[in-house]
């Protein structure tokens, strides 16, 4: 008697597996992560407990998590849009930076002492700059099929250097005692805070964007076409869909949304542009989009969870003196397990016993 293992494509996907795979992935990532924590001499359970308590234990924690989640939600929606079309926009980081630079430029050069007008000026600047930055890579792909993964990535590094140029150079606040940062934005150039914490208008913008793009993909012809172009470019071509035009458009929108995330960070959260202004969110947004299986509403939820991971990582740094990079390492692990889990969504393994049939 012999046992044979066969891998078969699933014809239908059971409902339980949809929820099980992400949860299982996160648990497995935490289990693996605990080994790494133990290597550095940190008791894993205590560490995870501290992370959970700080990020979701009470309203203060949830508030911190929401603040962290705002750029992740926003940029996550932007990345989702591009990924739907199988356009690999890895450049959210750069687009966030450019959006923040444009916002700052608007405040410096076209300042209007009116909150409403100023909001739309900053918004427009962030959208055009972030979108234009990404559309460059989109155009190169559309026109000559230049690999967008590499161009968007290189643009990240270039954007980072641009940021350094401005905060160390022409935009440095003379009163900052040498710290690389601009002068604080005037009140009219700040996004309103919601309630008492640091949660700002960016949260509403993120939610609205999530809903808009959910509706677009669910109900519009354009959204449908983007999905077809992503899943089967050949079919799309035969159906007469304009791939070239849409690559540029999708990259523009994707970058514009990331630009809005950048605006939220400087005009909402910090109120000035500074060196430490982190755009690592751009890479995390990719994880968020993939964990959410490119569903704009799920992005919102996943961004919250990953935001909690970020808050937790900061607490580990402060309380247990662990490197902040523990967050990033855990994210990488989660993504590994999610990718592995995909296999069990699409295939099932069967054990056959007995003679060869």
């Amino acid at each position: 008697m012999s046992v044979r293992i066969r891998v078969e494509r699933r014809l239908t996907q059971p409902v339980w597996i949809e929820a099980f795979i992400p949860l299982f992935s996160i648990v497995m990532a935490l289990v693996t992560g605990s080994i790494f924590l133990a290597v550095l001499g940190a008791p894993p359970l205590q560490a995870y407990n501290a992370m959970f308590r700080a990020s979701m234990g009470d309203w203060l924690g949830i508030r911190d998590t929401l603040v962290k989640a705002i750029p992740l939600m926003t940029a996550g929606v932007g990345v989702t849009l591009a990924f739907k079309m199988s356009v690999w926009n890895i450049g959210a980081t750069g687009q966030i930076i450019i959006g923040a630079l444009a916002t700052t430029a608007a405040v410096r050069y076209v300042y209007v002492d009116n909150r409403f007008v100023m909001f739309w000026l900053m918004f427009l600047a962030a959208v055009l700059a972030g979108g234009g930055w990404a559309a460059m890579a989109g155009y190169l792909k559309a026109r000559w099929n230049v690999n967008e993964i590499i161009t968007t990535l290189m643009l990240n590094y270039i954007a980072l250097q641009l940021l350094y140029y401005f905060v160390y150079g022409p935009w440095r606040d003379p009163a900052s005692l040498g710290f690389p940062m601009t002068t604080p934005f005037p009140p009219a150039a700040r996004l309103p805070f919601l309630g008492t914490g640091r949660i700002h208008l960016g949260l509403i913008i993120a939610l609205v964007l999530g809903v808009i793009f959910w509706l677009v993909f669910r109900f519009t012809r354009w959204g449908y076409e983007i999905r077809v172009m992503g899943e089967s470019p050949r079919t799309a071509r035969f159906a007469g869909m304009d791939y070239v035009k849409n690559v540029v458009l999708v990259m523009f929108l994707s970058g514009a949304i990331a630009g809005i995330a950048g605006m939220g960070e400087v005009a909402g959260l910090t109120g000035r542009l500074q060196h430490g202004f982190t755009a690592e969110y751009g890479y995390t947004a990719i994880i968020v989009a993939w964990l959410a299986r490119l569903h704009p509403l799920t992005v919102i939820l996943v961004a919250f969870l990953i935001g909690a991971l970020h808050v937790g990582g900061e607490v580990l740094q402060i309380v247990m003196r662990l490197p902040l990079a523990s967050t990033q390492m855990l994210q990488g692990l989660i993504l590994f397990f999610i990718l592995g889990g995909e296999f069990f969504r699409r295939y099932r393994i069967r054990f056959h016993t007995g003679e060869k049939e």
Binding site: R6, V7, E8, F36, V39, L40, W88, I90, L140, W144, N145, V146, N147, I149, I150, T151, L153, M154, L155, Y157, I158, Q161, L162, Y164, Y165, Y168, G169, Y283, I286, I287, W290, L322, P323, L324, A325, S326, T327, Q328, M329, L330, Q331, G332, L333, L335, F336, L339, G340, E342, F343, R346
Partner: protein, 308 residues
């Protein structure tokens, strides 16, 4: 003249880590697997090379361990993309994110320390050749090994049975399978060996080039290498050309910085990245479809036999 020679010699040194990474990725991609985890692999290689060198006192043990760690982490990518048929783009990104995070996580205690590192070993005779000697033959051993690797890889891909098989697996896995080759085995080995070589490139940075460990010290070199594979049309000799071109730009802008130019440093630092985009656009527009070299036919696509 002296300045030019110095810059050219520096170009070779600063191009070497990129060269290793590019050669490693060429091996991987020739099997049909795309590995975008280079940045993470290089960082893990840099940390492993540095930490083992420091703890053991032997830079060569550090470099060997970097190879092993690089191959080990690449195993994750191999398993996900070959056995579990996962999306290779996302799996590679996961590798980069994980490697970046893990190297910073474990590297914290090494920040700010230094090691003696690899010493310079002029090649007797060859290093006395005017100009060329100082540019090419007045470096550490790892540089010379990279010259050998370029030649070896070219010979391997063109003239050996195994090299031919590897290309077949990357171009038309179905036909290779029908010929009786194990597609999975070739791909696993290529991803592991390739990943190991990429990590050696990272180790070169910390063990021979800077001789210290800094978080995120690769600064995008892994991604530049991904672009260089396309520039090189998967040809080892062209990979060397590309890597030294980039090394030259880095050396040149460092030289300008040291000379105290009025151009702001961040604008100089942009040069390698701008050049990457320019080169990529240029090469994509006029890419010839070589038979021997060129993009493997089924790069990035999982292969499996439909059973039953």
């Amino acid at each position: 003249m002296d300045v030019v020679i110095t810059i050219l010699a520096a170009a070779v040194r600063s191009g070497t880590p990129i060269l290793y990474a590019t050669l490693g990725e060429i091996i991987t991609e020739k099997s049909g697997i795309l590995n975008l985890g280079l940045e993470g692999l290089m960082l893990m290689g840099a940390l492993t090379g540095f930490s083992v060198s420091q703890l053991s006192g032997s830079p060569w043990l550090g470099i060997a361990c970097a190879f092993i760690v690089g191959a080990g982490i690449s195993l994750i990518h191999a398993f996900l993309s070959i056995t579990l048929r996962a999306n290779q783009v996302v799996s590679g990104l996961a590798l980069t994110i994980f490697g970046t995070g893990a190297s910073s996580f474990f590297g914290q205690r090494f920040v700010g320390t230094t090691i003696p590192g690899l010493g310079r070993v002029p090649v007797p005779g060859l290093s006395d050749i005017p100009i060329l000697g100082r540019v090419l033959f007045n470096h550490d051993l790892l540089v010379y090994i990279s010259y050998g690797l370029v030649a070896f890889l070219y010979w391997f891909l063109v003239s050996t049975r195994t090299g031919l098989n590897l290309r077949a697996v990357g171009d038309t896995p179905r036909a290779a399978d029908a010929m009786g080759l194990s597609v999975s085995r070739y791909r696993y080995i290529a991803v592991l060996v390739g990943g190991g070589i990429v990590a050696v490139g990272g180790a070169y940075l910390s063990v021979a080039y800077t001789r210290m460990w800094t978080e995120l010290m690769t600064a995008g070199r892994g991604w530049i290498a991904v672009a260089l594979v396309i520039f090189a049309i998967w040809h080892p000799a062209r990979a060397a050309m590309g890597a030294y071109l980039f090394g030259g730009v880095v050396a040149f802008q460092l030289r300008l910085q040291a000379a105290g130019t009025s151009i702001p440093v961040p604008l100089l630092m942009m040069l390698p990245y701008l050049l990457t985009i320019a080169v990529l656009v240029f090469i994509t527009i006029r890419q010839g479809k070589g038979i021997l070299f060129g993009a493997p036919g089924s790069l990035g696509q999982p292969y499996f036999r439909e059973e039953g």
